[in-house]
């Protein structure tokens, strides 16, 4: 395929000058052409090009798109393409040509005040003023108080009328943002006819904390902690993505000019660290999938599996606890390696536990998904998303695989120890709750097998001096590389398979190695629209079931 986008590799730093800077029209044409040819959007965001001379003219916003192809290109199955362009203050919307751009364009409009003209659904995403001080694209009124902080005159979603349907027997049900469980806030608005849902509109943004704005300003030593708090249930995957970003920024050839001694320091983690990261990722996946299968079971009032899975989720979390002292793996992964090793005694203990749990998990999965007809009756044909819809919405992870999109970042863009592991294709075809549940059940068993394999042999890693040090911090034991020594003028994008699907982190640094932009894309960013799609023509009483089958992240989306 001919394209003016540059082919790049996952997790490898390139100079920002290498990224082709196209004119907007060429950029648009190429992006649309790629996406029409089955490419998927990994990242599409704006950033301030502050090294640009025209920066003072406040005209230095650039758009950057990273796309991944979905078919064989130059002998490889999956490749990444990137290009930038100078952002006009308004432009003809790409969504008009290609649906997958829709939420990305809304996000850019909100963050930078750039109007995608003709966008079919130009609605705010997270409800905050744009960073450029431009007039709000959505006509929202953000005022400043005496301290100069923004306060919001209206509640989310501000100046926006929800979709409404009119007619006899039509009714509207508004749920949230405060819910009846200990869950995150989100507003769901159902347009129903009787018990049937015509349309579900999902409104998020209640958890917006400004993570992306915070990262460039924060002290480098705080970064790992911030990253691990993006979404608590995905803290390992986020930490791994962040570590890969930083590692590729530090070890590459850019360093050679500045530090001639670069060969003495390993910024690639050693194999042992890679294995431990892989184990932690898989444990996170298992714990979440197991917890969700239990919740699915609880939602159809079938309590035994709900109880068993609830307990087993704790058992898996406790395995992570055993490795690093935190049930969610916080503090385990740091740029440069891992902070905790797995010694022989611990390895044997983990092996013993996982062998014990494997049988139990398999039994309860069978009880839930195979031997109880009333559960199958609830799961099958519930909340169906067709393959073509899933393709156009760009669903990722288990939600996409349940619809037949077999993409798995662990196979397509293997990082850490995944290049040495065979990940099976888990695609199902039905796209219903049952498919989403079975994909997760399959992945649980595969992940258990992966962990068992990795635990078979001794894992050798040196935790001494492997993690990058922090400035002004005691952890830095004379280690020469510091977390703030980033390569200048660089761009990195990483892709990892978090338990919900493709998680991508991306970084841009300026000529002094300072972070200009740190962009996080949680898989939920794609998948929320899948949930809305699932609810079309589904009974409203099946919403909780569908919601659990996705179990998307609110804070990962809101950032």
């Amino acid at each position: 395929m001919e394209t003016q986008f540059l082919e790049i590799s996952n997790g490898t730093a390139i100079s920002r000058k290498e990224i082709p800077n196209l004119t907007f029209d060429v950029f648009r044409e190429n992006a649309v052409k790629l996406v029409r040819n089955n490419a998927k959007i990994v990242q599409f965001f704006g950033y301030e090009d502050i090294d640009n001379d025209s920066y003072k003219n406040s005209n230095a916003i650039k758009l950057l798109a990273v796309l991944r192809t979905n078919r064989v290109h130059a002998g490889r199955h999956y490749t990444l393409f990137a290009a930038t362009c100078d952002a006009p203050s308004s432009y003809p919307s790409l969504t008009l040509e290609c649906e997958p751009f829709h939420l990305f364009e809304r996000e850019i409009a909100e963050q930078f005040g750039i109007v995608p003209e003709g966008h079919p659904w130009l609605k705010m995403v997270r409800y905050h003023p744009n960073s450029q001080g431009r007039p709000d694209v959505f006509g929202n009124d953000y005022a400043k108080d005496s301290q100069g902080n923004y306060y919001y005159k209206d509640d989310i979603p501000g100046n926006y009328p929800y979709y409404s349907v009119e007619g006899k027997e039509i009714h509207e049900v508004a749920v949230g943002p405060v819910h009846a469980g200990v869950i995150e806030p989100g507003h769901f608005r159902f347009n129903c006819i009787g018990e049937k849902v015509l349309h579900l509109e999902i409104q998020l943004g209640y958890q917006h904390r400004g993570v992306e704005e915070l990262i460039p300003k924060a002290e480098p030593k705080r970064l790992p902690i911030i990253i691990e708090s993006i979404a608590g249930d995905t803290s390992v995957a986020n930490a791994v993505s962040f570590a890969q970003v930083i590692e590729s920024l530090i070890h590459k050839e850019y360093k050679e000019q500045r530090h001639k001694d670069h060969k003495e320091h390993r910024f690639q983690p050693d194999t042992g660290a890679k294995k431990i990261r892989t184990i932690a990722l898989e444990l996170e996946r298992i714990a979440n999938h197991v917890g969700d299968l239990g919740a699915l079971s609880g939602d159809v009032a079938f309590l035994p599996p709900a109880n068993y899975f609830g307990r087993m989720r704790g058992d898996f979390l406790n395995m992570t606890l055993l490795i690093c002292g935190n049930r969610f793996g916080k503090g385990l992964v740091r740029p440069g390696g891992v902070r905790f090793s797995i010694e022989t005694s611990l390895r044997e203990e983990l092996m013993r536990r996982i062998n014990e749990l494997e049988i139990q998990v398999a039994n309860v999965i069978e009880l839930l998904l195979i031997t109880t007809p009333s559960v199958r009756d609830r799961f099958e044909d519930c909340g169906v998303v067709s393959r073509s819809d899933a393709h156009e919405l760009g669903l990722v992870g288990p939600a996409g695989r349940a619809c037949g999109l077999s993409y798995d970042a662990r196979r397509a863009f293997p990082t850490e120890y995944y290049p040495n592991i065979d990940i099976p294709e888990n695609a199902k075809s039905t796209g219903d709750v049952y498919a989403r549940a079975t994909v997760r059940a399959d992945e649980i068993m595969q992940s258990i097998a992966i962990i068992k394999n990795l635990l078979q042999e001794p894992i050798e890693t040196s935790i001494e001096n492997s993690c990058l040090g922090f400035k002004d911090n005691q952890i830095d034991k004379g280690n020469s590389k510091l977390l703030s020594d980033f390569a200048p003028d660089s761009f990195v994008v990483t892709i990892n398979e978090a338990w919900r699907g493709e998680l991508s982190h991306s970084i841009l640094t300026d000529k002094n190695g300072k972070i200009i932009r740190y962009k996080i894309k949680d898989p939920s960013f794609h998948n929320w629209s899948g949930l809305a799609m699932s609810l079309r023509n589904t009974e409203i009483s099946d919403f909780p079931l569908n919601n659990k089958s996705y179990n998307l992240s609110y804070c990962g989306f809101d950032l």
């Binding site: 009846a180 709900a306 009333s374 009756d377 009974e539 009483s541």
Partner: protein, 308 residues
């Protein structure tokens, strides 16, 4: 008479205990210890000690709902031959009166739910109004059969002393149909799995629970107590059919013990049912409830042919 009143009070007192048996059975199947067996008393005491919160948008209807639903359940219980003993009141045709006493209670619960103008509660009210209609048909079909069998139209005529065993003698095995059918009505009327899920926190899937979301304190205690009594009422009907307690030769206290045991069996069955079956899709619930009507109908047809 004194005996009947004492038994009525006894019924009210043990109803919360029996409901906790269901929780214990579910906990057993789920591999848990479950809540303490007296949990429902603790809950009631806690609720009675609280104050009630009323939304400004509600009217007196909202306050009437819990009182009337409890009162109707208490009154209905006066007509029930508890464990086969004579009820406090009884007259020919009281079955219809009792059925609509529960109907009255439901009407006011629904009205109170609608009074809050919450979309959730409206949705629950619509469901609550729909499913019991089918139950009503079933109940009438059962009463038609019973009337044909022993020419009574009163609960006392069907369920007191040796009447249940008499019904068995007349109807034979088609009585099994009636028991299953009554059991389905019990599950539906009392919002149990697979029709409704009393344990869920998901408003969108609830039927009964969602209607009482806005009630609090003593009001909510009234509703809870009313629900315990209603479940006790239906369980007692079923239990007196599965183990006809007062045969000739079995007298107090054995008949009372037998009555409690058979009622416990019914509650245990509810618990087992809730543990082994997932809740049905909302659209399939009417089919499930209709099964009870079909069973009662066929039992009637078969028996009619038999006794002609």
């Amino acid at each position: 008479m004194i005996e009947s009143i004492l038994l009525w009070i006894f019924g009210i007192i043990i109803a919360p205990f029996l409901s906790a048996v269901i929780l214990k059975v579910k906990a057993f199947f789920g591999g848990k210890n479950g809540p303490p067996i007296f949990i429902n008393y603790y809950t009631l005491i806690k609720l009675f000690q609280k104050g009630s919160v009323y939304s400004k948008s509600t009217t007196f209807i909202f306050k009437m709902g819990p009182i009337i639903s409890l009162a109707s359940a208490l009154t209905a219980l006066m007509f029930l031959p508890i464990f086969g003993y004579r009820p406090i009141f009884s007259f020919e045709g009281d079955v219809i009166f009792v059925l609509y006493l529960f109907g009255l209670g439901r009407f006011f619960t629904i009205a109170a739910a609608m009074d809050t103008a919450s979309p959730f509660e409206g949705m629950g009210a619509a469901r609550e109004a729909f499913f019991p209609i089918i139950c009503e048909a079933t109940m009438f079909m059962i009463f038609i059969l019973f009337y044909k069998l022993n020419n009574h139209l009163s609960l006392a005529g069907y369920f007191s002393s040796s009447s249940p065993s008499h019904l068995w003698d007349m109807a034979g095995t088609s009585m099994v149909f009636i028991i299953i059918s009554l059991f389905i009505v019990l599950l539906t009327e009392n919002s149990r799995v697979p029709v409704d899920d009393p344990a869920t926190h998901l408003e969108l899937t609830m039927i009964h629970e969602v209607m009482v979301l806005d009630h609090s304190g003593p009001d909510f205690a009234f509703i809870e107590l009313g629900a315990f009594i209603k479940l006790f009422f239906y369980s007692n009907m079923v239990s007196s059919l599965i183990l006809p307690f007062q045969r000739d030769g079995i007298v107090f206290p054995h008949s009372l013990i037998l009555g409690i045991v058979s009622t416990l069996i019914v509650y245990t069955c509810v618990g087992v049912m809730e543990s082994v079956v997932a809740r049905y899709k909302m659209s399939k619930v009417p089919k499930f409830v209709l099964t009870s009507f079909a069973l009662a109908f066929f039992a009637t047809v078969i028996t009619m042919e038999f006794i002609k």
